[in-house]
Symmetry: C2
Subunit: 231 residues, 2 copies
């Protein structure tokens, strides 16, 4: 085998491609905590890792993908009505670093928002705050490019806080209310307890913890099914 | 601003460069837990994030950097005698993905070993097991390239388990022994408790928790000094 860097001229380590595969790998994994005796009232717990993604508003969709364009379904997500779209954008940070193939999750929302892991944000040079989805006041922005245009997103880049979706019946079972914090204890060789899992209650929700790729990789989520949600 | 992917032909998202900066950023951070009253016997706790790196043996050093070559000091590390070297290699995974500028930590060891975060390992396509440093039996390998040669590392690629170095006096203070597990509770907006912090005792050690970049990014280590090591 040859030596020296010149062997690799023209070959690059593509962070984009690897992360796309990471999305496929991790979003596809579902960790089910079933009651041991089969009769416990405890609902099944699904924990999913979200790779970085964008939520988009109508106005930004028009600019990036063309007037009147619509998101198209690449894959349905666990929460009913939500989907990973075929549409992807490129985000450009303040130091001219970029991440391409940033997937959009549908449906469209009232305001655009980009959720990055700290690994992504540090790579881009963006100081992303930890926020719950939708709470984007005074967050940083970036340049976003789509196939039909580009725009300067003024704000909306966050590191999403780990959270659990549930319906009111499940909330009653756990004895928690909207905005409470729960713990998620993940076993396995890299055991971690997430101490601040935000409770988000909606009648349409399915019980489901969302963490990001940094969190999933830190706890080795792919290595264990020993996971417990605790009040 | 122009639109479309062609604008970026020839421009790549360099994971290597960003991670090098991440090394500098995170290794430089020290989180000190000082006793509130200034008279407590509790030793100061330093928590450091280790970016991916290699430990190298004499034989592999000869192949990669030339017969009789030596590591040179780029920066001293927290544990006395350990240092980040100027020397770097490229690691090539089974799917022809690569990570360049993988820094070597000195001094040389009896066997080569590469410590990756899961984010790195997934990117390379390597199924790295969680191991304590030095415990590399039946771990995967990879092709390693240096400026003077390349080799096939047969084994030695791990995701290092989070661990705490301490001296015997500190171990006595905590009431722990070699191989015990402790907890590290990190506060802040992304609060996490690491439930399996391996205790490593050595007379030359300074009290110091080592985590990797996935773990540091998951808990937002850069956002808080509210950190506690618990038996």
């Amino acid at each position: 085998m040859g030596c020296g860097g010149s062997v690799f001229s023209g070959t690059t380590q593509g962070i984009d491609r690897s992360v796309v595969e990471q999305i496929v790998r991790q979003v596809a994994l579902e960790y089910l905590g079933r009651p041991a005796n089969g009769v416990s009232p405890a609902p099944e717990l699904t924990v999913l890792a979200s790779a970085r993604h964008m939520h988009i508003c109508r106005e930004d969709m028009d600019i990036l993908f063309g007037k009147g364009s619509e998101l198209t379904v690449y894959k349905d997500l666990y929460q009913v009505g939500n989907f990973a779209a075929n549409e992807k954008v490129t985000i450009i940070g303040p130091r001219s670093r970029l991440i391409s193939n940033l997937r959009i999750l549908g449906p469209m929302r009232k305001q655009s928002q980009i959720e990055l892991a700290f690994t992504d944000a540090i790579s881009l040079g963006i100081d992303a705050p930890v926020r719950l989805s939708g709470n984007i006041a005074d967050t940083p922005g970036a340049i976003i490019m789509g196939p039909k245009g580009s725009l300067e997103l003024k704000q909306g880049i966050i590191r999403a806080a780990i959270h659990v979706h549930m319906n009111p019946a499940e909330a009653a079972l756990f004895g928690v209310k909207q905005g409470d914090l729960m713990k998620l204890k993940v076993g396995g060789p890299a055991g971690i307890t997430f101490d601040k899992v935000h409770v988000r209650i909606d009648p349409t929700s399915r019980l489901n913890v969302h963490m990001d790729t940094d969190e999933a990789n830190a706890c080795g989520l792919h290595l264990t099914k020993d996971i417990e949600l605790i009040k």
